[in-house]
């Protein structure tokens, strides 16, 4: 009896969770122009999407921002983690870690609006650079959080051993520390990458006119109502997300310490 209740409950919940997503994808293949009734199979909306040069340039912009920001955030975050790990005083490390986490716990509207003030005060014009800098900024803390635990579990005498055997500091770093950290660096990079792709609110604040990412474009189109080109785009993004999830599970299969659930939330 209990088993039946729990099974029915979970099936019902999962159906509700997935129904809107599949519904969205299904209508990407609709011949008609709205999400009311399915009027027959057609790839027309995908064709429209691929011939929409504006949309393609937005996709390229989005990917460019995601790759650049996650790459730079990974490098800066790696050294941030090395710095925090080196601190001898536990109190200092805790202070730096709390400051590190501020952007992870702040609501997106707060990050977006305070960055907007920052760029304006600096006289920085809004556009590609402001979006890129913002994405780097909100991705650094997650990279640090991914690399730091691995660093702390590293046996530091390995570095001494390398140096005793004649390696220079840089050689010891490149040949000992980096390979050991590599899985966590990759996870950090990957998280930063998906944060950047997922972000809407921060970008929306700092983007100004003339530069758009996918999320901002989806938002402004969705405000106009239903347009099945967005469904076609969603279908592609869904496929892409599935690939990302598979990569993520391959990366983290070894150390399942935290789970990424949505942007900015690690549980």
């Amino acid at each position: 009896m209990n088993k039946i209740i729990s099974r029915v409950y979970l099936i019902f919940l999962l159906v509700i969770l997935y129904l809107p997503i599949f519904y969205l994808i299904l209508f990407a293949f609709n011949e008609g122009d709205n999400m009311g009734a399915f009027q027959g199979f057609s790839l027309g909306h995908f064709r429209d999407l691929f011939s929409d040069t504006r949309m393609i340039s937005i996709v390229i912009n989005t990917m460019l921002i995601a790759i650049l920001s996650s790459l730079i955030a990974t490098i800066i975050g790696l050294f941030g983690a090395l710095f925090i790990d080196r601190l001898k005083s536990k109190r200092a490390a805790n202070i730096y870690l709390s400051l590190n986490d501020v952007l992870l716990v702040s609501p997106d509207v707060i990050i977006g609006s305070s960055f907007l003030i920052l760029f304006t005060v600096l006289g920085f014009s809004l556009g590609f650079m402001s979006v890129l800098l913002s994405h780097i900024a909100f991705s650094i803390p997650i990279v640090v959080l991914m690399i730091l635990p691995r660093l702390q579990e590293m046996n530091k005498s390995m570095i001494d051993a390398a140096q005793d055997l004649g390696a220079t500091r840089i050689q010891a770093f490149n040949k000992v520390v980096l390979p050991f950290l590599l899985p966590s660096i990759l996870t950090g990079f990957f998280m930063a990458f998906t944060y950047s792709l997922d972000d809407f609110a921060v970008t929306f604040f700092v983007t100004g006119n003339g530069f758009e990412t996918l999320s901002v474009e989806v938002y402004s189109q969705a405000r106009q109502g239903v347009n099945l080109e967005i469904n076609a785009l969603s279908a592609l993004i869904f496929g892409f997300s599935l690939i990302m999830i598979i990569i993520y599970y391959l990366l983290t299969v070894r150390n399942k310490k935290s789970v990424r659930v949505g942007k900015g939330r690690i549980i």
């Binding site: 979970l10 710095f83 509207v109 609006s113 650094i140 770093f173 989806v218």
Partner: protein, 271 residues
């Protein structure tokens, strides 16, 4: 690394994008016309029925969303934790959080809109189309939909961490199933519930895109107010004031829902 220069970008980031923005948003909120009280914006906020009503509304919405999330998620987490396929089921629950939130909101525009599928279905039953989109109901429904995984996961983790011998002990000592649940399982999984409330309540106060897309302009939350002040009416002073208040509320919520001081983990036998 001896060469300290490599840490420089990290320090620069911390100063420029963590510390300075916090200061800037506060300074902006007290940056008023010369001659005015520096807390002018705060006085305006707390003496205006519009702002106070908006804050209260925002709270009520967040409260309702959190309540429904909890109501739906606790049994779900409990059932999943007791299932043979728990890790696969929890993966299925997390998966939708990887889909961009805007796309999920957009799906609901299709579902709830005037010529959308819910209304088509009602039409088949001979019921005239109803206004579903841009209502309080649609906003609460979609926000709950989006937040449920964030509530299930921490509760699931805390149920998994529960020492199963406590449950057996309680049953051996003659407690009924319901007593075991209310006296043992629920108190010992409160940590997960607290984390869940934190991760759901705060975004519910601040997700402005949902209120815009699903709630129309009828639902205004603290997040919507900030966005509007910054990007539409260009009243940054007031926008920052609302922002500072949101941050204070956030800190208060984390403080209220965090663990009561150093209580011993375990079951109080005297009870």
């Amino acid at each position: 690394m001896k060469n300290k220069l490599v840490y420089l970008p990290y320090f620069f980031w911390m100063a420029m994008f963590v510390i300075i923005p916090i200061i800037l948003i506060f300074v902006q909120s007290i940056n008023v016309a010369p001659g005015q009280n520096i807390f002018h914006n705060y006085v305006t906020y707390f003496s205006s029925s519009v702002y106070l009503k908006m804050t209260l509304n925002s709270f009520i919405f967040a409260f309702i969303i959190t309540f429904f999330c909890l109501l739906i998620s606790y049994p779900a987490a409990y059932f999943i934790a007791n299932s043979k396929y728990d890790s696969f089921l929890i993966l299925l629950i997390i998966l939708p959080t990887w889909i961009n939130l805007l796309l999920k909101a957009y799906a609901f525009i299709g579902i709830f809109s005037h010529d959308g599928s819910v209304n088509s279905f009602l039409g088949l039953l001979g019921i005239a189309p109803k206004q579903l989109l841009f209502t309080n109901f649609s906003f609460i429904f979609v926000a709950t939909y989006i937040e449920i995984p964030f509530m299930i996961l921490p509760i699931y983790n805390s149920i998994k961490a529960l020492d199963k011998t406590f449950i057996r002990a309680s049953e051996d000592l003659g407690a009924t199933k319901i007593q075991t649940f209310t006296k043992v399982i629920l108190p010992l999984t409160m940590n997960g519930v607290r984390t869940g409330i934190q991760t759901v309540f705060i975004p519910s106060l601040s997700l402005f895109m949902l209120t815009r897309l699903i709630g129309g302009n009828r639902v205004i939350t603290l997040g919507t107010a900030i966005e509007e002040h910054f990007l539409t009416t260009m009243n940054w002073g007031m926008g920052s004031t609302v922002g500072v208040i949101l941050v204070i509320i956030m800190v208060l919520i984390i403080w209220i829902t965090s663990k009561p001081r150093k209580r011993k983990v375990g079951v109080n036998i005297d009870e």
